[in-house]
C-alpha cells in the first residue's frame, strides 16, 4: 500500500487521541496518556469500566463516532475478535491512524488469528489507514505526550527516534537511552508491521526534521528491497543504528547455483549493513552506547586517541580495548612530551599515551595539573579524540565529600571539548558502591558527556562511529 504520509504523520504526532478498550485494574492505556498535550477521549462500552474511567477524569464515549471532533490517533486495546469492528468504526469516523496493541493475529500461527489479521490488512489498505502493529506497544511522542509506557520522558525536545519490532526492546531502549541522557523524542513499536512496515517508518523518519539519529531493533523485514533503498538514502542524511535479532529461515530453499547455496541470511544482512553505511549493533546496550557517542561527542575526524587513565593497570586495559577495535593510541608530538616532562610525575605514572595520571593530578581537582595536561593535548596535532577514565573505585568517595573537586575536573573536560571540537567520551567503571557511583555518573550525563561502564563498550561505540564517519567521507 502506498502510505498516506500526512495520515502517518498525524498518527505518530497526534493532536487528538482516543483510547478504545481501556480497562481495569490499572487503565494503563489511557493513564499512560494522562499528560497528552491535547484532547484525550476514552471509548468503552462496559458500564463497570466506564464508571472508573470517568472517576479518573477521562471523558468516555460509547462509540468512536460519538467523539465530537476529528481524531488523529486511536489506541486500540480491545480483544482480537473486536479489533476489526473498531477498525471499521475508525474508518467511518475518518480517524487518521490506529496503534493496535491487540495481539493474537498471524504471530500465533492459528487460523483464526491469520484470518483476522488478513481482514484488518484488507480494510486498512482499502481506506489508506495507517495501522501501527498489531501486536505492539504503539507510539511514543515526547513532545505530544503520547506514551507507550508510563516512565518515558516528556518535554519539548527529542532528536533521537527508536523503532522496534519488539515492544519490550523498543521501550527498554527508549527508557535506557533517556537514562543515559539521550533525548529520545519518538518511539515506535511496530509489531507485526503488516500495514505500515519498517521501510515506511524509516522513510518517515528520514524525512522527519526532528529526527537526527535513528535506532532500530529488527527481526525480519516485510519489504527488504525498499528497506535497503530507504536505508541507503537515510544514512547519507542521518545515522541509523540497527540491532538485528534472530536469523530468518526464509533462505532455506532449493538452489541450483553455487551462488545461491552460499547466500545465507546472515551473509546478505552483512551486505546490507556494509552497503548502506548503517551502524550495526549486537544488542540494545550497543545501540545506546553508539547513540551516546553520536549525540554526546563531536564527530571524530580520525582514529587516533589520547587515552587518559588514572592508574597503570587501567592504562594497559584501555590501550588493549581500543587497539582491539582498530582505534589507534599514537605517540604525541615531541613538543607535547617536552612540556609534559616539565611537571608530570613519572614515578608510578606515564604521559606517553596512554596516560597514567593519578600521581600527577591527584583527585583531579586538587591542582592545575589536569588543566595543564589538557592544554597541552588541545594543541597536539597527533590526536583526533580523547577517552577519559574516572577510576571511580578510588575517587568516588572523595568526590562525594568534596563535590568541588569533581566540578573542577568536569569543567576542565568541558573546556577541552569546547575549545578543540574533538570528541571526548568518558568511562566510569561501576567499581564502587552504587550509591556513590551512580550520582557521579548522572552528573557526567547531565553535563552532556557520553559515559560508559567499560573500556570495551566505549571502544566499540567509538569505533562504530568512526567507521560511519569514514563511510560518509568516502561517499
Amino acid at each position: 500500500m502506498a502510505v498516506d504520509r500526512d495520515r502517518l504523520h498525524r498518527t505518530l504526532t497526534p493532536r487528538t487521541v482516543a483510547v478504545v478498550g481501556a480497562k481495569g485494574p490499572d487503565f494503563g492505556w489511557i493513564e499512560n496518556q494522562r499528560e497528552f498535550q491535547g484532547p484525550l477521549y476514552s471509548v468503552q462500552l462496559d458500564p463497570n469500566e466506564i464508571v472508573e474511567i470517568e472517576k479518573r477524569g477521562f471523558t468516555n464515549y460509547l462509540k468512536l463516532e460519538d467523539v465530537p471532533e476529528d481524531i488523529d490517533l486511536v489506541i486500540c486495546a480491545v480483544p482480537r475478535n473486536i479489533a476489526p469492528s473498531i477498525l471499521s468504526d475508525a474508518i467511518k469516523k475518518g480517524v487518521a491512524g490506529i496503534a493496535m496493541f491487540t495481539a493474537g493475529f498471524a504471530e500465533t500461527g492459528e487460523e483464526d488469528g491469520i484470518r483476522l489479521q488478513e481482514a484488518i490488512v484488507e480494510m486498512a489498505n482499502a481506506d489508506g489507514m495507517p495501522v501501527v502493529g498489531p501486536n505492539c506497544m504503539g507510539v511514543y511522542n515526547r513532545r505530544r505526550g503520547v506514551k507507550f509506557h508510563s516512565d518515558v520522558d516528556q518535554g519539548d525536545s527529542g532528536n533521537v527516534s527508536i523503532v522496534g519490532q519488539s515492544g519490550t526492546h523498543t521501550i527498554n531502549m527508549t527508557t535506557a537511552a533517556q537514562r543515559a541522557g539521550i533525548d529520545v523524542g519518538r518511539g515506535i513499536s511496530i509489531g507485526n508491521a503488516v500495514v505500515i512496515n519498517e521501510a515506511d517508518y524509516l522513510e518517515y523518519l528520514r524525512d522527519d526534521p526532528d529526527t537526527e539519529v535513528i535506532g532500530m531493533y529488527l527481526e525480519g523485514l516485510k519489504d527488504g528491497r525498499r528497506f535497503f533503498e530507504a536505508l541507503r538514502e537515510t544514512t547519507r542524511i542521518k545515522p541509523v543504528v540497527i540491532w538485528k535479532g534472530g536469523q530468518t529461515t526464509a533462505g532455506q530453499r532449493a538452489t541450483r547455483s553455487h551462488t545461491a547455496s552460499l547466500a545465507t541470511s546472515s551473509a546478505t544482512w552483512d551486505a546490507l549493513i556494509k552497503q548502506t553505511g548503517a551502524i550495526p549493533a549486537n544488542n540494545g546496550d550497543e545501540v545506546i552506547d553508539v547513540i551516546q557517542a553520536l549525540v554526546h561527542s563531536a564527530p571524530p575526524q580520525g582514529r587516533r586517541l589520547a587515552l587518559m587513565a588514572m592508574t597503570g593497570g587501567q592504562s594497559v586495559a584501555i590501550s588493549d580495548a581500543f587497539g582491539r577495535v582498530g582505534l589507534e593510541v599514537p605517540e604525541l608530538a615531541d613538543g607535547s612530551y617536552e612540556q609534559l616532562g616539565e611537571f608530570f610525575n613519572v614515578i608510578g605514572g606515564s604521559y606517553r599515551n596512554p596516560f597514567d595520571m593519578a600521581n600527577t593530578i591527584g583527585r583531579a581537582g586538587d591542582s592545575d595539573n589536569l588543566r595543564r595536561i589538557m592544554d597541552i593535548l588541545a594543541e597536539d596535532p597527533n590526536i583526533d579524540g580523547m577517552v577519559y577514565e574516572f577510576t571511580a573505585n578510588f575517587f568516588a568517595r572523595f568526590w562525594k565529600e568534596e563535590p568541588g573537586l569533581f566540578d573542577e575536573m568536569m569543567g576542565t573536560l568541558d573546556d577541552f571539548r569546547t575549545r578543540t571540537g574533538l570528541p571526548l567520551v568518558t568511562v566510569m567503571h561501576p567499581g564502587h558502591k552504587d550509591e556513590d557511583v551512580i550520582p557521579l555518573r548522572d552528573d557526567v550525563i547531565s553535563r552532556g558527556f557520553a559515559v560508559y561502564q567499560s573500556f570495551d563498550r566505549a571502544a566499540l561505540a567509538l569505533s562504530r562511529v568512526v567507521a560511519y564517519r569514514e563511510w560518509l567521507a568516502a561517499l
Binding site: G224, F228, A250, T259, L262, A263, A271
Partner: protein, 230 residues
C-alpha cells in the same frame, strides 16, 4: 537462437545451457569466451576455426551436472583434426557413462589463457531480491566458501569493497612473484553483472564460474543462468 530466454521458456526449461548463458552475457557486454553449439564434428571444427585455437569442447546436456566427470570436456585442442577426434571421444565417453542422457551436442570455444579463478554470481534473496556474490572460484568456492555478497544494484565503491573483502584477496594482488590480477577489470565486470541482473528480473540465479582474473583483464569461461519459474 536470437533470444535464449524465450527459447528456454518455449522448451519449458529454467536452466539455460552454457551456450545460451554466454550469449546473453556477451550481448550485455560482459567478457566471456564465446561458445557455439555444434551437433557434428564438422560443425565443431568450423566453430573452432572461427574462434581460434587452442579450442575447448564441452558436452551439452541438461542431464549431466559435472561434465568433466564423465569425459565430457576436452581442453587444449590445437587444430581441426584434434577437434574432430575430441568430438568423437566425448560422444563415446558420455554414451558409456550416461547412456540415458539426452545429449544436444558440444559447445565449442577458444581456450582462454588461465588466470586466478574467481566466481561472480547472483542469486535471489527472499528478503532483498537480487544479491551478487564474489569469491575465489573453482574448487575454492566449494571448499572455503570465501565469498562476499552485496545487494544489487552495486555502486562502484561496493565493487571495490567486495573484491577486497574476501580472505583470498592477496592471491588477486599477486603472491610469490605471480603477477596480480587486473582488479579494475574485475570491478568493472562485477558492476556489469550487477547491471545485467538488474535488467533481467526474470533471472533467479547466475554463476560466472570460473572467471579468469588475469593481469590483462577478466574473462568468464563458464556460465550458468537459471530463470525464475515462469
Amino acid at each position: 537462437m536470437s533470444d535464449p530466454i524465450a527459447a528456454a521458456r518455449a522448451d519449458g526449461r529454467t536452466l539455460l545451457t552454457e551456450v545460451e548463458s554466454k550469449q546473453l552475457l556477451h550481448d550485455a557486454g560482459i567478457t566471456v569466451t564465446q561458445a557455439r553449439l555444434a551437433t557434428s564434428a564438422d560443425e565443431a571444427v568450423a566453430a573452432a576455426e572461427e574462434f581460434g585455437y587452442p579450442a575447448v569442447l564441452k558436452v551439452v546436456s541438461g542431464d549431466i551436472a559435472h561434465k568433466s566427470d564423465v569425459g565430457g570436456v576436452e581442453l587444449g585442442l590445437g587444430d581441426g583434426d584434434a577437434v574432430r577426434a575430441a568430438y568423437d571421444r566425448i560422444m563415446a565417453a558420455v554414451k558409456a557413462a550416461e547412456p540415458d542422457a539426452h545429449v544436444g551436442g558440444v559447445s565449442v570455444q577458444q581456450m582462454a589463457d588461465p588466470g586466478v579463478e574467481v566466481i561472480i554470481g547472483m542469486t535471489t534473496d527472499p528478503q532483498f531480491g537480487p544479491v551478487l556474490a564474489f569469491g575465489l572460484g573453482g574448487i575454492m568456492v566449494e571448499v572455503l566458501k570465501d565469498v562476499a555478497f552485496r545487494i544489487v544494484p552495486l555502486e562502484p565503491r561496493d565493487a571495490g569493497q567486495i573484491v577486497r573483502e574476501i580472505k583470498g584477496y592477496p592471491v588477486l594482488e599477486g603472491v610469490r612473484g605471480q603477477p596480480g590480477a587486473d582488479i579494475d577489470a574485475l570491478e568493472s565486470m562485477i558492476l556489469e553483472v550487477s547491471a545485467f541482473a538488474e535488467a533481467h528480473p526474470e533471472i533467479a540465479e547466475l554463476d560466472l564460474n570460473p572467471v579468469f582474473a588475469r593481469p590483462d583483464g577478466a574473462i568468464a569461461v563458464d556460465a550458468r543462468v537459471v530463470l525464475a519459474e515462469a
